[in-house]
Amino acid sequence: MSRSFGTDSTGSTISVCLRFFARYAEVLGTDAVTVELQAPATVAHAVSYVRELLPNGATLPEKPLVAVNLEHVLPHQSIHDGDELAFLPPLAGG
């Protein structure tokens, strides 16, 4: 699954792993996909990819909680080849 997302300055792409948990995994029907994004890319580009290209992706919020390589991040955070992005539904531990 590959499609260009992100700004078009170099023509290169990055490969990132997108992981989904709890309700997001249920509505998307998968807990992980590896996708290619046009570089340079941000978390927001990955979110757009999910919302526009994955089945039922539009049901995810426009600004979901996302972690990159186990760290909570904001939408403008840059992402790089090999990164793991986790889409986190509202937390509910305890």
């Binding site: 948990f21 709890a22 309700r23 249920e26 509202p90 509910a92 531990g93 305890g94």
Partner: protein
């Protein structure tokens, strides 16, 4: 060592991990699966987690306790999987030379865990329905 367990939480073991002769005050928090009029007939909760990140966040929170309350020890566990009503889903024990620090540290762990640790719960309702819990609950069955 993981803070996440699938078996019932052993609170006595957590207490023993932090107890010491010089730590005169210990506080224990136990969060349990609730069944109340406002929640409806909840039979159990299924807990899932992004385990690598959850353990990392718990580890950080414990380290933060050491920075904020240097003489305080903390032990905790969060349960995953099927947890029936009335059983503990999370337990935190904080031991300190003084009770004020023990109370504060214990509460800090609980509140930060709820804000930062990627754990989710799905309530299992009598009759076979279920709903995800969080900032916005959704009925799915």
């Amino acid at each position: 060592m993981s803070y996440l367990v699938h078996a019932p939480i052993d609170v006595a073991r957590l207490n023993s991990e932090v107890s010491a002769a010089h730590l005169g005050g210990a506080t224990t928090f136990i969060g349990s699966v609730r069944r109340s009029p406002e929640d409806g007939p909840v039979e159990a909760i299924e807990y899932t987690a992004y385990q690598e990140m959850a353990d990392r966040e718990f580890h950080r929170i414990v380290a933060e306790v050491s920075d904020r309350w240097p003489n305080t020890r903390v032990a905790l566990q969060h349960r995953l999987g099927h947890v029936p009503t009335g059983e503990a889903s999370m337990a935190v024990v904080a031991a300190s030379p003084h009770r004020s620090d023990a109370f504060a540290a214990c509460r800090y762990v609980v509140e930060e865990a709820k804000k930062r640790v990627p754990i989710w719960k799905k309530e299992i309702i009598e009759g076979g329905t279920a709903r995800w819990c969080g900032n916005s609950a959704e009925r799915i069955g």
